[in-house]
């Protein structure tokens, strides 16, 4: 490419953690600036240049009518659109509202609820516009982000592994929590990306990087049920940062049906 690709970063409903991981890439930041031209990144600079952009990084989910309109404008302005993180890719933790009454929540949380105007759902970017590439994680792994940016500049495919967290645990020599301790761990159905961090620190995987391919949630949940875990314990495990990722959503919804059956709710 004769000229450096123009990069823009846009924030929607999110905590800013994923875009901050770009600033956290301190050792690589100067080299990144040699490869891409950062044209619009409010977190880093008030010099916000107008589009069109070659690459747009999208953080956050869609929770307001304004944002639903704004993402369409961003899409029109961007050649290649990448969602970064669990919010943009799967709706984020705020997608828990999808199972609740959002007005009740607003009333109970905000002292002046009349100033809040929000949609009843939190939805991933891909439900609104075409997404060219998705980076998973809560937050994303900045090494993966750097690889995606360099891959774009070089015109090659990014190297983002899609295998389960288990493979990383085995590389590190971490002993399986499900097998050795009977602890529910989402590692076998979660995509790699964190390097199997939590299992190395004595906890099961929380599924931050979302469902792996394939995510055989029904087989794994059967196992957890055999270990004595009730749907009441398993539903929150799945309804977390990636609650609205289709595989986790389906699995948790099925568990709630089981829960009602367990409680003997008349049909």
């Amino acid at each position: 490419m004769s000229r450096k690709p123009r990069l823009a970063v846009f924030k929607f409903a999110s905590c800013d953690g994923c875009q901050l991981s770009l600033l956290d890439a301190e050792d690589e930041l100067l080299a990144i600036c040699d490869r891409v031209d950062i044209a619009h990144f409010a977190e880093a600079s008030s010099d916000l240049q107008p589009g069109p952009y070659d690459v747009a990084l999208i953080e956050g989910s869609i929770t307001t009518a304004e944002d639903a309109a704004r993402i369409r404008r961003v899409r029109l302005d961007s050649k290649f659109l990448i969602t970064i993180g669990a919010c943009a890719t799967a709706g984020g933790i705020q997608a828990l509202r999808n199972w609740a009454n959002v007005d009740d929540w607003v009333d109970s949380i905000y002292p002046s609820p009349e100033f809040i105007s929000t949609l009843s759902t939190s939805t991933p970017i891909a439900q609104h516009v075409h997404v060219d590439f998705a980076l998973h994680g809560c937050p994303i792994n900045y090494h993966q982000l750097v690889d995606v940016l360099v891959a774009l500049a070089e015109g090659r495919q990014p190297r983002i592994p899609s295998h389960s967290v288990c493979l990383d645990c085995k590389h590190r020599g971490t002993v399986c929590h499900v097998v050795a301790r009977g602890v529910p761990c989402l590692g076998p159905v979660t995509q790699s990306g964190c390097g199997a961090l939590c299992p190395a620190y004595d906890r099961g995987c929380y599924g931050c990087f979302g469902p792996s391919v394939p995510a055989n949630t029904s087989s794994l949940l059967n196992k957890f049920r055999m270990l004595g875990q009730s749907p009441d314990q398993l539903v929150p495990l799945l309804r977390n940062f990636n609650a609205a990722a289709p595989e986790f959503q389906r699995a948790a919804d099925q568990l709630t049906i089981l829960r009602s059956n367990d409680e003997g709710t008349p049909s």
Binding site: S162, K170, V175, V178
Partner: protein, 370 residues
């Protein structure tokens, strides 16, 4: 090799002298120790780090550490780690290249200087090392790192005196008795260790233990301790129609059924002491001045591993499970002249959902289409 036929005996504290001697000779001694609620393999400096008085209880998809009634030093079976991590490390840089004024300069991997002494290698694990020897050393293309580490390897085998419910080495004819491929082979009894010497180096090293010829009484106790392991093995795999059975039943409905249970999480292949698949990736630094060629353990259960010509060749779990099992038990024979399975049972224990290959083979045989 001048092999002694006499079986030797030394008292338990003398094992520390053996460790010290191996370290003096420049070996990094690795052996069983307790970590993360399991008996794993790691560097051992003192016999106090051995899992004395502990054992493992295993079942499909389940492993628990348990206290023993006695103070046995090697009173466990096999755990989540295998010795392959020392000969075929999970991640290695094979080659690097750096940009210079005159073009790319290739930097070969530095010779590996680590000498490992493995302490506590079971018969099934000796068999696994023999199988990986064929994979990495036979034929025109040898793996240099494996070769360097293998040539310097010192093996202290330990005979099993008990078996787990997942063990089936007797079916695979790999154990439980350590018969070849070791420098020293120990059998633990209450009063100490009986020791078979398997190499000249072993003969040389054992001198520090002040070992004496074992009495017939000690030999009798060792024989009955080893027999206990044989008697405890309940799991069986009928190998009479292998190879052939699985490759002759590629369309068997059981593949779909096991595919529904399988998580495709790669655990079985990672814990398997013979699985050898890896991926090689070239990683460039951001300034494009340096490239590292990295090899890391990969798995046929990883969908991306079958990415060929723009698409996934094995795009569903059933086909990936079928690929693994037919290779392990069937086509491995044509490729390497041996089965790929040693009957250690790790893939059964460490499958989070407890898929048992002996059951899968039996189910396919039951309704096989000849």
């Amino acid at each position: 090799m001048a092999q002694t036929s006499a079986v030797l005996f030394f008292s338990k504290p003398r094992l520390q002298s053996l460790l010290d001697e191996l370290r003096t000779r420049g070996y990094c001694v690795v052996g069983p120790t307790i970590d993360q609620e399991a008996i794993i393999y790691d560097e051992i400096l003192s016999v106090d780090e051995l899992p004395r008085g502990w054992t493992d209880e295993q079942a499909p998809g389940q492993y628990r550490l348990r206290r023993r009634d006695d103070d046995a030093w090697f009173g466990y079976v096999v755990g989540p780690h295998s010795w392959k991590k020392y000969l075929f490390p999970p991640k290695t840089t094979l080659l690097s290249a750096e940009k210079t004024a005159n073009g790319w300069e290739f930097i070969p991997r530095a010779d590996d200087s680590t000498s490992f002494a493995l302490l506590g290698v079971r018969a099934c694990e000796l068999a696994a090392i023999r199988i990986q020897d064929r994979v990495f050393l036979d034929g025109p293309y040898q793996d240099p790192l494996y070769r360097e580490r293998r040539q310097r390897l010192f093996i202290v085998a330990v005979n099993c005196t008990q078996a787990a419910s997942t063990c089936f080495c007797t079916s695979m004819k790999t154990g439980p008795r350590c018969e070849q491929g070791f420098d020293l082979a120990l059998t633990e009894i209450d009063s100490g260790f009986l020791c078979d010497v398997g190499s000249d180096v072993g003969q040389d090293v054992i001198a520090v233990c002040s070992a004496v010829e074992a009495t017939s009484e000690q030999q009798q106790s060792a024989a009955s301790a080893r027999q206990q392991a044989v008697d405890q093995i309940e799991r069986r795999m009928d190998t009479s129609d292998l190879p052939g059975l699985l490759l002759g039943n590629l369309d068997h409905p059981r593949w779909k059924e096991v595919g529904d249970r399988c998580l495709s999480c790669t655990n079985c292949t990672m814990v398997c002491p013979t699985c050898f698949c890896s991926s090689v990736t070239e990683i460039r630094d951001l300034n494009m001045d340096r490239v590292d060629r990295e090899r890391s353990w990969d798995s046929c259960f990883n969908p991306d591993f079958s990415y060929l010509g723009g698409s996934l060749v094995r795009n569903d779990t059933a086909s990936r499970y079928r690929q693994w099992l037919t290779h392990k038990l069937d086509s491995w024979q044509n490729q390497f002249g041996t089965s790929g399975c040693v009957g250690c049972g790790r893939c059964i224990t460490w499958c989070p959902v407890g898929i048992d290959l002996t059951e899968e083979v039996a189910a396919i045989r039951e309704t096989s289409t000849p």
